[in-house]
């Protein structure tokens, strides 16, 4: 990343300042919801719950933005740690089982029989990448069809290859558009209207900062898309 591409510090600070009124709003609504200053009727509770859910969505958007700015601001301070990708994936996939079921989807991790070598990357950030890819694969399914998501890893000569395959509607956009900052595809807007289109952008920054590659291919002869990334072995 070139230095003139970096995010100014004032912008990062401004985003932090936006978080404050949202926190205050959440605190007020949670206080009302707790009924400690007066009882609420069912309709009032329902409305406050809806308000809280929207606050949560807004906080998620801001956190994504903070992560983006942070990656751009501090890209050069990227950590290189030994990470056991298999263990990380197993735990993330396990955590998504319930969410997948609620979305009429299944998710499996095809754990390799042989132990896969650790990779060199920033643990916290690569977790964000895997989490983001898993969450996308589950969410961007075709309406009315049962979703199927398969995650696997494979050891290559000098790197480890990560794959996540879904049976959704695939990617209609051309080239690498989906990895652009703030890019929102039609499907993304329909599925997750409050997102800001930085998940794949951050993922690309993270993988490339680790010396790896990230790309996707629409599945040949069947529905869906497969995302791949590679990371260097430690």
């Amino acid at each position: 990343m070139t230095s003139n591409n970096r995010t100014p510090r004032y912008l990062t600070m401004a985003v932090h300042q936006i978080k404050n009124p949202i926190y205050v709003l959440r605190e007020y609504i949670e206080t009302l919801s707790s009924e400690e200053i007066g009882e609420l009727n069912a309709k009032q509770k329902e409305y406050l719950q809806a308000a809280l859910e929207n606050i949560k969505n807004t906080e998620d958007v801001i956190n994504d933005l903070v992560e983006t700015l942070r990656m751009e601001e501090k890209g050069e301070e990227f950590k290189k740690e030994e990470v056991n990708l298999g263990e990380m994936i197993e735990s993330i996939v396990q955590g998504y089982k319930f969410f997948a079921k609620a979305n009429n989807s299944n998710i499996v991790f095809n754990k390799p029989e042989e132990k896969v070598s650790p990779v060199l990357t920033d643990r916290k950030r690569i977790k964000y990448v895997v989490d983001n890819l898993v969450s996308n694969a589950i969410q961007y399914k075709e309406r009315g069809k049962e979703g199927m998501v398969e995650v696997s890893i494979e050891e290559k000569e000098s790197e480890v290859l990560f794959k996540i395959k879904d049976n959704g509607s695939g990617i209609k956009e051309e080239g690498d558009k989906v990895f652009s900052r703030f890019y929102r595809g039609k499907k993304g807007i329909e599925t997750s209207p409050t997102g800001i289109g930085v998940g794949l952008y951050i993922s690309k920054l993270v993988v490339e900062s680790s010396g790896g590659k990230i790309w996707y291919e629409n599945n040949e002869g069947e529905d869906g898309v497969t995302f791949y990334f590679t990371l260097l072995k430690s």
């Binding site: 932090h16 205050v24 206080t31």
Partner: protein, 126 residues
Amino acid sequence: MSEDKKKLLMIEDDSFLRKLYRDRFKKEGFLFTEAISGEEGVNKIYQELPDVVLLNVLLPVKGGFELLREIKDDSKVKDIPVIILTNLGQEEDIEEGKECGATSYLVKANVKFSDVVEKVKEVLEE
């Protein structure tokens, strides 16, 4: 009766948050006092000698970390526990807070009022 009550100083520039915390900490049995800038905060620490301070970081005139460094350098007030309550949640911010002498560090996005009260009580018991 008020002598049994613990005095909490909140240094926070957001008036809505101060109001909510004022109401709720009073309900929890605290004596609540407040400051809206780092500079006013330092003055209140010396004037009122609170039992515990709840400190924001991004504050007008004087920031929270600067305030913390200042009071931790003065034996008159250095033992007053300070809990940081901020939106800055990056590792380096937390490290800086600890280095400046904060007793505890809470990130607003990750806590509810009940967590803050619990932390304040825990710190007072130490």
